[in-house]
């Protein structure tokens, strides 16, 4: 059993990634082309990666950890998975609210792209004014119309964690009760399934991550266009607190054997070409404001007001969110 992983050989980079997008291949090969550094990857969901990092402890070969959820980024920071770093480039490119609060040692994690949780409705069945806030979805007028994916999914837990921060646990629990009462069917399937269910009329209104909607908007397949024709979307909470957004991001692993290459990779993710890729390849919003978006689907969604709640708050509330859902029977 040799130990090739811990040799400080900058020609390699070990990446633990929770990103599961096929389109990311281009991103990695582009980095390798530019730097000559080969990327070794393990992809699994956020929680499974965290478990693995926990088990590996100080011997972990990970150089860079990428997560796709704000609460998990915070959790990973608390668990001490990240090494704080100073990077003038990253600090100048990424807005302060989309990276961890720096201390004397530096920042632990950086956001590289964002996605929003928006409302999709059936044009023939639902009036958009009735579903233009997260709160309204739980009101009696939407009885029998609402669909979401499982509440246990990180995207849902982060949305609810943010709501706990805004409105307190008791009010959020009432909201979750209202949601359960309004469901057209028990939570199941992914976000694309929710959109399809809205188009087919099974649900009147659903929550979905923005990039799944954009993927359908951009699709040239006839069946996808038929779905798009039947649905409308709303940016929720525009007049109040703003639409909930989530962050995909990452940092250098605590015991990175190739820490220089790791910083290089993070800086590459904040470069123009990688940021354009996030927008055009996987339909996410880039975090660097100056980057030009050449994505018709994202342009269709237009500008919106985003909720401004600290990632730490969302992360802290995650377990409370899960427990609250269990209490009200939100599957």
């Amino acid at each position: 059993m040799a130990l090739p992983l811990h040799a400080q050989d900058a020609k390699e980079l070990n990446l633990y990634s929770a990103r599961h997008y096929q389109t990311d291949e281009a991103l990695y090969s582009d980095f390798t082309k530019k730097t000559g550094i080969k990327i070794n990857r393990i992809e699994a969901d956020d929680n499974a990666l965290a478990e693995r990092l926990k088990s590996e402890g100080a011997n972990s070969p990970a150089d860079v950890i990428l997560m796709v959820d704000a609460a998990r980024l915070w959790r990973a920071q608390i668990d001490g998975f990240f090494k704080p770093i100073h990077s003038k480039y990253l600090e100048s490119r990424i807005p302060a609210n989309l990276r961890s609060k720096p201390d004397a040692e530096g920042s632990t994690w950086f956001g590289f792209s964002t996605r929003a949780r928006l409302v999709v409705y059936n044009k023939a069945k639902v009036n958009p004014q009735d579903v233009d806030t997260y709160e309204k979805l739980a009101e009696p007028m939407n009885k029998g119309k609402v669909c979401t994916r499982s509440g246990a999914h990180p995207y849902m837990l982060s949305l609810i964690g943010a709501m706990i921060e805004r409105r307190g646990e008791a009010a959020t629990e009432e909201w979750a009760k209202g949601m359960v009462a309004n469901m057209a069917r028990p939570p199941r399937g992914g976000d694309t399934d929710q959109i399809k269910a809205v188009a087919s009329g099974e649900c009147g209104v659903a929550l979905t991550n923005s990039y799944y909607l954009v993927r359908l908007l951009r699709s040239t397949k006839q069946e996808d266009q038929a779905i798009v024709a039947k649905i409308g979307f709303v940016w929720p909470n525009q007049k109040t607190t703003g639409t909930h957004i989530n962050i995909a991001g990452g940092g250098v692993a605590k015991n990175a054997p190739h820490s220089q290459a790791a910083i290089q990779f993070l800086e590459y993710l904040a470069s123009d070409s990688a940021q354009e890729y996030f927008a055009n390849g996987n339909n996410e919003w880039p975090v660097v404001k100056s980057v030009k978006i050449e994505n018709e689907g994202l342009k269709m969604l237009g500008p919106f007001k985003a909720e401004n709640i600290s990632v730490a708050a969302i992360g802290k509330n995650q377990i409370a969110a899960q427990r609250l859902l269990d209490r009200v029977g939100y599957k």
């Binding site: 059993m1 130990l3 090739p4 992983l5 070990n14 599961h20 997008y21 096929q22 291949e25 070794n40 990857r41 393990i42 992809e43 699994a44 969901d45 929680n47 499974a48 965290a50 478990e51 693995r52 926990k54 088990s55 590996e56 402890g57 100080a58 011997n59 972990s60 070969p61 959790r75 499982s150 246990a152 837990l157 069917r185 028990p186 939570p187 199941r188 399937g189 992914g190 976000d191 694309t192 399934d193 399809k196 269910a197 188009a199 087919s200 009329g201 099974e202 799944y212 377990i319 899960q322 427990r323 269990d326 209490r327 029977g329 599957k331």
Partner: protein
């Protein structure tokens, strides 16, 4: 020698010690968080209830499909029987999670069948059409996926005695149904139990398919405790709860197996009754419908998805294929070698037979639970970086889980080589080595190939442990299928899924050749 056997067996039993580790080394900051009491208060009751309903439903489903088809095939002659005889095993090649994706895609509200019916009937919704993403959907899908276990073992039992039993039943003046109920079923009970236990263990171990159906089972609870609440201790406590369920089934299976007698060809074949007219049509219909739902429809749906994709081949496809093949072949070879080693050790020394029973337990260990055990164990000894470095940990996990299926096959093969054969060969002046080469190997060849192939297919399909324990740059076909499903790209998972099915067909077809000869 005996020490080596015991040591090796214990080595394959380590993950269970890993499961006990959190109790021995309480290091979790969340220990006092009351995860378990929270789950118990609000959700666990529901998980247990749905697990029980699922097991009951699938139990009934595989019983009807497995026993029904086995009885028809074993006792009657009708058009198409020759094909059904082996084709009814084909569903084994379809992984449960792939069956789940296809089942839901086809039957959901926005799917082709319901949409077509709605526009035909001019209705907004079909209130009478059950939702495929439900407990009942899961029961249907699992039943069609797993009934071959029951079919395979039961058919053998029927072949042994069915003809004679029909004669007995006619003498007693029973109707065919009465004869079946009063004579045939009790006789085949051990076989039916053994097959059902295999199917139900698979259901209990499943996570991918049940979560896709939106059904929350005990496995859901384990994942929730472990990954949502980050509480490995609570997860292990729940896992032990699940294991007690599994153990119960496992012991039923073991004790029924001990009552099983293998078909001996010396008795001569019993004659199957020729069916005509309506009865032949019914037999054909029953077998045909089973085959249609269990294999033909899913295979057709996959091919159709593939063409929808425009046959673009993912650039990573060859990597997936080669990773899957290499790890499956490697595990299959090692497991056959180990199985031969253990089987011979027990043959030489009957006192060691408990070792093989212990190893049989691995099959009952759900992949995710096994992964927690291995992770905990590696953590204690600070060896967890091995996972990333090589396939070693992954292959080890597969061996723990699947060695028992190859062991069973090798043991069954060895059982056919009677001690008197060894004695006669020795009388003829053959040395021990020659006996092995000239008597055992030719007689065992088929069992060894079957043993290797079963492990090969199991590894191809395995998902939860692979996801958690795989090394760098090691996506298999199963992992790719899962990731594409997670990214909600159903059309693109057609290619990796179809490959798993096609590769899985080889051993199944080989097995069916063996069946046609029996």
């Amino acid at each position: 020698m005996n020490r080596i056997v015991v040591l090796l067996a214990l080595l394959l039993f380590l993950p269970l010690f890993g499961l006990a580790a959190p109790f021995l080394f309480p290091g979790s900051e969340l220990l006092a968080s009351g995860t378990l009491s929270h789950l118990w208060n609000f959700v666990l009751g529901g998980y247990i209830a749905s697990t029980l309903v699922l097991i009951l439903g699938v139990g009934i489903g595989v019983f009807i499909l497995g026993v029904g088809n086995a009885w028809i095939i074993a006792s009657y002659e009708f058009p198409g029987k020759k094909i059904f005889e082996w084709a009814l095993i084909l569903p084994l090649a379809v992984p449960t999670y792939v069956m789940a994706y296809l089942f839901v895609d086809l039957l959901q509200f926005s799917g082709p069948i319901q949409s077509g019916l709605r526009s035909m009937l001019g209705m907004e919704s079909l209130w009478f059409f059950p939702d495929p993403r439900s407990l009942s959907g899961a029961i249907w899908s699992f039943s069609f996926c797993l009934f071959p276990y029951v079919y395979l073992i039961t058919r053998t039992a029927f072949l042994e005695r069915s003809g004679r039993l029909i004669e007995v039943s006619e003498t007693l003046g029973y109707s065919p149904l009465q004869g079946f109920m009063k004579l045939v079923l009790p006789m085949a009970r051990p076989a039916i139990f053994a097959g059902m236990a295999l199917a139900l263990m698979e259901v209990l171990a499943d996570f991918g398919a049940v979560s896709y159906f939106g059904v929350q089972t005990f496995a859901t609870g384990i994942f929730k405790a472990w990954l949502s609440f980050g509480d490995r201790v609570a997860a292990v406590q729940l896992a032990l709860g699940l294991l007690s369920f599994v153990l119960l089934i496992f012991f039923i299976e073991q004790s029924s197996r001990s009552k099983l007698r293998y078909a001996s060809s010396s008795r001569g074949k019993t004659l199957a009754k020729l069916l005509r007219g309506k009865k032949a049509f019914f037999a054909f219909g029953f077998c045909g419908a089973t085959l249609l739902c269990g294999f033909l429809l899913p295979a057709f749906a996959l091919v159709q998805l593939l063409f929808k994709q425009g046959l673009t081949i993912d650039i990573r496809y060859l990597d997936w294929l080669s990773n899957s093949l290499s790890v499956s072949v490697l595990t299959a070879v090692i497991s056959v070698v180990l199985a031969v080693f253990f089987a011979y050790s027990v043959r030489m020394n009957a006192r060691l037979s408990w070792v093989n029973r212990l190893l049989g337990f691995g099959y009952a260990l759900p992949g995710a639970v096994l992964a927690i055990g291995i992770l905990s164990f590696l953590e204690i000894f600070q060896l967890a970086w091995w996972m990333s470095a090589s396939m070693l940990v992954l292959v080890y996990a597969y061996l723990v889980r699947f060695l028992s299926s190859s062991l069973q096959s090798v043991e069954a093969g060895l059982a056919r080589i009677t001690p008197s054969m060894d004695a006669s060969a020795a009388l003829l002046g053959l040395s021990k080595g020659q006996i092995l080469r000239r008597v055992h190997v030719p007689l065992l060849k088929r069992s060894l190939i079957t043993a290797g192939l079963f492990v090969f297919v199991d590894v191809m399909k395995e998902l939860p442990a692979t996801l958690l324990l795989r090394p760098f740059n090691f996506d298999t076909l199963a992992v790719a299928t899962y990731q594409l499903a997670a990214d909600e790209r159903l059309a693109e998972l057609a290619l990796p899924s179809l490959t798993i099915v096609l590769v899985g067909l080889f051993p199944v077809l080989l097995l069916s050749r063996v069946i046609s000869k029996s």
